[in-house]
Amino acid sequence: MKPPAFEYYCPETLDEALGLLAQYGAEAKVLAGGQSLMPMLNMRLSHPGVVIDINRLPDLNRVTVEGTSLQVGALVRHAELEHSALAATHCPILPAAERLVAHLAIRQRGTVVGSLVHADPAAELPLVWLTLGGELEVRSTRGSRTIAPEAFYLGYFMTDLAPDELAVAVRFERPAAGHGWAIEEFARRSGDFALCAAAAVVEWDAARGVVQGVRLGLGGVGGAPVRLDQAVAPLVGAVPEAELVREVARGVGQYLDPPDDLHASRAFRLHLAEVLSERALRAAVRRAQAKEVQGA
């Protein structure tokens, strides 16, 4: 298995890269970490006429705090976010999610933004991005724009990104200080894509001992990750008793339409969605309450 022939460009500036994308459009594929594109080239599932390698572009390898967001540049590798002190402080769910992404060697090379735009419906990072909220910063010779995760994912491996556009950075909304979080998944083997994954973020009203805000996202249950704001609404302003959390989690299935495929049946995926939602919500609540005890 060897990649088909293609024209290879390795631009040194963003303008040069955008010019190439404007020129070649859908004929071109952008190569960043290559941990999804390269297998597709090796197996000849993809035949781009042109490969634009962005690995030598400057300034895209940084993790920074920008206002209410954690910003991650297009060349930040999974392993870098996994070990980022800024991520651990501001969005601790991100390093935890990264530890579930593929394996050690894949994480050294694969990029955060690459995973988001590849849009595998079972991938962890699109799920966490949708759960936290945020935006993707996209450039082309036509200008720049930002896209929210809710609008970005259109279905299996389909996104709102136009052929001449380059995603240069993603911003994850930082939850309030003292929030609780959790990501839970079920995969057949360590490092596999999840059959189902759940991410939860809980903002805690310490004065009243109730949930102030809650977000729950699920991955692996359809063409794109989903956020279940309606399903978790009963938790807002409530004391998160185990019974209530269980009831909310048992109710997620009515919002989902998972597929039957050779990896798992629809019924099994619905079962996983409920079980993992309950585990994620409970763990997020526990973390939020533990921080209150520590006075964090």
Binding site: M1, K2, P3, P4, A5, F6, E7, Y8, C10, L31, G34, Q35, M38, P39, L41, N42, M43, V51, D53, N55, A79, A102, H103, L104, A105, I106, Q108, R109, R189, S190, G191
Partner: protein, 163 residues
């Protein structure tokens, strides 16, 4: 097909080689540079046999174009032994019978070498997690984990013996 010249440091040696952009680093190491210790199993990033160090970090050489390694340092399994003496990780695999057919071994050696640099005293669970991206069809992994533990002990002894 137009080729281009790349320069890379392989196991400490400067190498210059003419490559097509579509050539994989693994193939260039094996076919052009004669370094056949890097094995190709699945050629799509799953089996881990082709793992090499790129600037000291483990990567799949089947998922990297050789042109992308231009200007970078690559360490293959041939670069682990120093002055003809097996590295502690290699010696551990020998002592603990960490291989049978040996096909997957180069990838395990490279990954384990990086693991012990990052975490000199890993638990068995941490070893298993780090090596979970390398497939072995012979050993059942028990002896591989033992071999990495052996290497960790050996490295600790060497470090405590240093003045």
């Amino acid at each position: 097909m137009t080729t281009r010249q790349i320069r890379l440091t392989v196991n400490g040696q400067e190498r210059t080689v003419e490559v097509e952009p579509r050539w994989l680093l693994a193939d260039v190491l094996r076919e052009r540079l004669g370094l056949t210790g890097t094995h190709l199993g699945c050629e799509h990033g799953v089996c881990g046999a082709c793992t090499v160090l790129l600037d000291g970090r483990p990567v799949r050489s089947c998922l990297l174009l050789a042109v992308q390694a231009d200007g970078h340092a690559v360490t293959t399994v041939e670069g682990l032994a120093q002055d003809g003496a097996l590295s502690p990780v290699q010696e551990g695999f020998r002592q603990e019978h960490g291989l049978q057919c040996g096909f997957c071994t180069p990838g395990f050696l490279i990954t384990a070498t990086y693991l012990l640099e990052q975490n000199p005293q890993p638990t068995r669970e941490e070893i298993r997690e780090a090596l979970s991206g390398n497939l072995c069809r012979c050993t059942g992994y028990q002896n591989i984990v033992n071999a990495v533990e052996w290497a960790a002990r050996k490295l600790a002894e060497q470090n405590s013996a240093k003045p």
